[in-house]
Symmetry: D2
Subunit: 428 residues, 4 copies
Amino acid sequence: MNHHKYALTPPMGWNSWDCYGATVTEDEVKGNADYMAENLKMYGWEYVVVDIQWSEPGAVSSAYRPFVPLDMDEHSRLIPATNRFPSAANGKGFKPLTDYIHSLGLKFGIHIMRGIPRQAVHQNTSILHSKATAREIAKPNSICPWNTDMYGIDSSKDGAQAYYDSLFELYAEWEVDFVKVDDIADSRLYGTHTEEIQMIRKAIDKCGRPMVLSLSPGPAPLEHASLLEENANMWRMTDDFWDHWELLYNMFERCYKWSKNSGPGHWPDADMLPLGHIGIRSVDGGASDRFTRFTKDEQRTMMTLWSIFRSPLMFGGELRDNDEWTLSLLTNEEVLHVHQHSYGARQVFRDDDKVVWSSKDDDGNTFVAIFNLNDTEENVTVNLEQLGYTSNVNVRNLWERVDLDLGSTHHNLSFTLAPHASVFLKLY
Amino acid sequence: MNHHKYALTPPMGWNSWDCYGATVTEDEVKGNADYMAENLKMYGWEYVVVDIQWSEPGAVSSAYRPFVPLDMDEHSRLIPATNRFPSAANGKGFKPLTDYIHSLGLKFGIHIMRGIPRQAVHQNTSILHSKATAREIAKPNSICPWNTDMYGIDSSKDGAQAYYDSLFELYAEWEVDFVKVDDIADSRLYGTHTEEIQMIRKAIDKCGRPMVLSLSPGPAPLEHASLLEENANMWRMTDDFWDHWELLYNMFERCYKWSKNSGPGHWPDADMLPLGHIGIRSVDGGASDRFTRFTKDEQRTMMTLWSIFRSPLMFGGELRDNDEWTLSLLTNEEVLHVHQHSYGARQVFRDDDKVVWSSKDDDGNTFVAIFNLNDTEENVTVNLEQLGYTSNVNVRNLWERVDLDLGSTHHNLSFTLAPHASVFLKLY
Amino acid sequence: MNHHKYALTPPMGWNSWDCYGATVTEDEVKGNADYMAENLKMYGWEYVVVDIQWSEPGAVSSAYRPFVPLDMDEHSRLIPATNRFPSAANGKGFKPLTDYIHSLGLKFGIHIMRGIPRQAVHQNTSILHSKATAREIAKPNSICPWNTDMYGIDSSKDGAQAYYDSLFELYAEWEVDFVKVDDIADSRLYGTHTEEIQMIRKAIDKCGRPMVLSLSPGPAPLEHASLLEENANMWRMTDDFWDHWELLYNMFERCYKWSKNSGPGHWPDADMLPLGHIGIRSVDGGASDRFTRFTKDEQRTMMTLWSIFRSPLMFGGELRDNDEWTLSLLTNEEVLHVHQHSYGARQVFRDDDKVVWSSKDDDGNTFVAIFNLNDTEENVTVNLEQLGYTSNVNVRNLWERVDLDLGSTHHNLSFTLAPHASVFLKLY
Amino acid sequence: MNHHKYALTPPMGWNSWDCYGATVTEDEVKGNADYMAENLKMYGWEYVVVDIQWSEPGAVSSAYRPFVPLDMDEHSRLIPATNRFPSAANGKGFKPLTDYIHSLGLKFGIHIMRGIPRQAVHQNTSILHSKATAREIAKPNSICPWNTDMYGIDSSKDGAQAYYDSLFELYAEWEVDFVKVDDIADSRLYGTHTEEIQMIRKAIDKCGRPMVLSLSPGPAPLEHASLLEENANMWRMTDDFWDHWELLYNMFERCYKWSKNSGPGHWPDADMLPLGHIGIRSVDGGASDRFTRFTKDEQRTMMTLWSIFRSPLMFGGELRDNDEWTLSLLTNEEVLHVHQHSYGARQVFRDDDKVVWSSKDDDGNTFVAIFNLNDTEENVTVNLEQLGYTSNVNVRNLWERVDLDLGSTHHNLSFTLAPHASVFLKLY
């Protein structure tokens, strides 16, 4: 499991989906990368990821156009649409864009759908390093129910592994650092495509470049926790996450259920952060162009849960439109320390939608996140004994960066929290 | 529900699937039609049906070749492969073959898959009498899991009904009498395609020709009994039926469950009769070229159940290879009288796999079928009271065409039956 | 199937559940019977049914008290609680009450739960005409999930049939005319209890009294249509029906699905009519003491659907509190003629929640029910051809008892209907 | 999660079920304990567990007698049947037996069903330290489908926690060390009873005695991995395990799926070891009195899998009837070292039913288990690189206690294995 060396801490980056749907352009990618290099890189943010359908010249939103032609090379491999990614002209693929991202000290990621283009199958095009043709390796009934681009690959066929190998050979030529594979972790029609996950693992191992492997969409089933950990670096615990309280509310249960299966190189993923300016060319998530619908309390609650649980952090908004508040959510070193360096995260209790999580770090600090998931103001109290402390401790509020004087509450941490609000503490 | 006038008695005919899979040729169809005209027509047999993939020039067995090109006209409609159906050359379609069948005093039927060819969708070809194109009416995720020919039609789209109308306009031009639509009654992936059933009903009603509509595959769910009856003439109660005792055994339960939903113009269908010489170019049903694996007792048991239940009778073997026994199963007027003219079929009882069915006719006769479904010889007794008789009656064995002397069994019909055997009686 | 002679037309009556939950008393039963005899009997209403838990002395509402003792005889049979049914004292059971009901020219019905009392099983009491004891015939895991009174009966055990026989022997002594058996048609935990249905059928056939058999709760699955028809006189298509529009809305689909399985002696049942004064001692249905929450349009829509579909009509309110409007719903001979004497009911079409049903009678009349299920006023038009008429016909509004002058709408019946409203017509 | 300190290594012991079903007696328990003290204690075996229905005086096999009376104290708590456990007379419960077991230097465990006796509920008996009665805390529909002893407890009711507290107060008085709770981890009818698991956790934490908590039956769902780990010490991955190859074959997949959720204090459990003389008074597992039906190869394969996976080891046979071979399976210190002291167990690969597992210990040793799950002899090869070694290593066969000379196979471990056989190696 050498791939567990690739993402020793949960990845942090930007992804184009929440703001640009299936339509992001090279200029927009570069613009967000520039912003990241200038404002976020020093805090650990590093991945710049182009999401779905970069081969579709006519993509106009997050709604896919069924059955339309995609840009493809002579070996049945999708390539960037040059009207959207001009530097990809003349067969250069994403290499020029990767070079640019790398020049900023950042890393580059792409999205792919599992499988081979349906257009390749119906045209019966060739496969690199194989005598098999597209028609021969496609699995006839293996479709994605929400996108018409691909057929799945039949692992029992000659040429099947060769096709995945040829894809990652190309991505390695492009010097891609991160691949998000879609329609694979919970494929709606067919559950988890375990065989294609294993073919992709082998293809990455063969290609010689240590790409981080991210699997979508969720909810990936816990039933496959071992397989996911042994083949991928991150996998979605949830269907697409958007700026609805209900989705955030449900994430607490998801994190609880997956909390024992997270660790260096393998991270259950709570999905992108729909923060800041999103929906610019997307109609997904029940809304269009907007600033996040989450309240400030909800935004901190989300960042707190993602951080103590150690989900990957992938910002979904147009970074260049960040306001000061949004930027502050991404640049709090004390919070990000928990995200990058804590371990042993667990839900201490959940009673009446009052939830407490804790974790530790190697310096002996304990981190405590206290959440009020109710729609009413509530007092939430956690006994220090439940956290492993028998006497008074020092307590620091991580978001506010201030030490707290707990006064007479010798044995308890007790907070009155607004609806959906939280506090994030360090005990030391 | 004018279509209930089309098949007032359960249809009887021949179908190419059990012997020729997806590969039947014009000569073979004509040869079987000739045989039917000469040997069976006088007993009520009339339909000659070409089963699946008559547009596939390279079909070699019952195993479909995925993603291969099909013969298609300029309006996205599949047409006969002329290498297999030479008379279809020059755009004549099935009209010459229909003419031939009609000249014999018989009727002609074809099989279609619901939907529009995938090749039409990926080539985005045109639709007759509509501005819509193939891509625009296909339902993206509506595939058949066992055959790659088609995409389903999205009934909400302009051009959807027009496409089905154009199909049946063509079949009316060909003077087709019977259409078996597949991947629709129980589509495996998606259950029953109720909207496409309704579009097809409308298309037939519009086309002006009274074609019998048969829906496959089964088991059609009882949940949709009303919809099936109101839109079709027959629908499958079962997945493909083959010459395995287990499948025949299970048919008793299926017939029981559907017995209240059978009547003039609407017939739950127990599927083709895998009798005589079958599997000639088919590998379906767990075997290849053979005479039916059913024992003689099982063959009569099958014919008896199909007849008293009034399932359509579609012979599956190569008629020209019938032996005398096989022919005798198809030409017993006393048995076929029950099939064509009885009503009120019901399972009288089922105890320990001893099963009794009865029905009546307008002449006051009662028909009784007594089955031993056990693997051992058993005595099966039915009390005359259970059949509505209080005194002695005359009893005739229909298969043997002899009157029985019941002797002292004044109140009971009692038979010792070999494993899987049956008797079929008339009480008068 | 002699039992099909018991309820040749769909039963009409009163049931205590909607107004009195599990608590009805003898006086209340008699009071409603008196009202029925005086006001409704001449219209065909005849059954007076005591619903659930007449053996529970302490019943206080529709919420059952778990595990409480029930009144039981020495043979493990539940008997009426004499504090609620004083005439049952001295072991007389329901016989005195039945006598009273019969003296009014009406019929008497009771509710039972399938199975044997848990208290009998844990006390291991005896069974009449059998050496088996209660413990020996109970099916260990066969409970009802919403009521703790009974264990199911294991049909494979000696004494099982004897116990059901002993029950119906007792009910025959009481001269009961109608038995509603609960937890049997769709038992929530275990689906349909087909074996207990068959034991009950045999027990009724043996007892020598032609009791109507009604099965609850629903939705009974269409999968068991044959079995239900062959063993019962009516069975619920639905879970408990209450005065919520959503439940009434859904009944249209249920009636459509069951419309082919209705006929003399066997009636799919849309459940009681929650009309008039209901919820008097019931907290079921999301409300308590009230007049029905259905609007007048909805009440007529319900009565129209129940009548043309020919569901049994069981009034649920306290009859003595009926106002003039409510009484008018039960005493329209023209509407009740359709309920008692029409046949061939079918949904003619359903488009955009505009629904049309039709049926016929032996005098050549056609009945048409036109419904607007939308929440907005809508125009609903039905073409006379869809109803089998090619020229003008006479049209009568059944609820208003007036003939309509359709004027220039020669070929259509067209009505503007308020939300949830309907018209009920006779064409002649 | 203090309970993770109770079973830092996977428990080892003996359980009465496989040999004595529901019928074990005090003498038999003592006899097996004596054997363990003399022959196994020095190898780490320590728990002596009395399995199900020690309150049933008339238990005769593994088949439960439905609805029979159980021995119970005045507080609705089951107590040992004194005809089977004479030392329990005079209200002493299991204390005298525990004392005896403890005197041998061993630990004592009991089995319980979740919930409260049905007989308590129907008699409405009292609950210690609570005003609630049995009837008031029982959850009406919460039964076990395979045993009629109990109703589940409704955690929302006053007295619910008190009842579980009263149970563990009693078990603490008896000085019980281990409690196996049944009908709770995968309850067949209702899935996992998470609320009762949490009540039991609280009751143990309150009782002041560090009892190991074991949950049955399986398969516990991975969906609840977090909850199980946070509340129990071991939980079943499987339904009852018996001496059938198919069950052992399937355990490989179960172990793979749970391999990430095993660690100090929390052990996924592959169930008892059906070795030696089993089925003495049991008819479960498809056979009766016998020596294990597993071949010797299968026995070692089982012990190897249980050891490297670190499942609890609970011997199921009558220990006193062990032969030398059987004893040898329990007393190999080199194998047991892996069971007690390794970590990081993972399935290295599984191809064509050739399976390799590995783990490590703190001394730098690597353990490798190589299995042939095929029904034919097979060669199984594992590359040293797959195990993290790049050069030659020393290899020791743990079962045979011999060092191997791998000769020229510098880079591979390669073995020809009989059907169902395995080798268990140490690399150092």
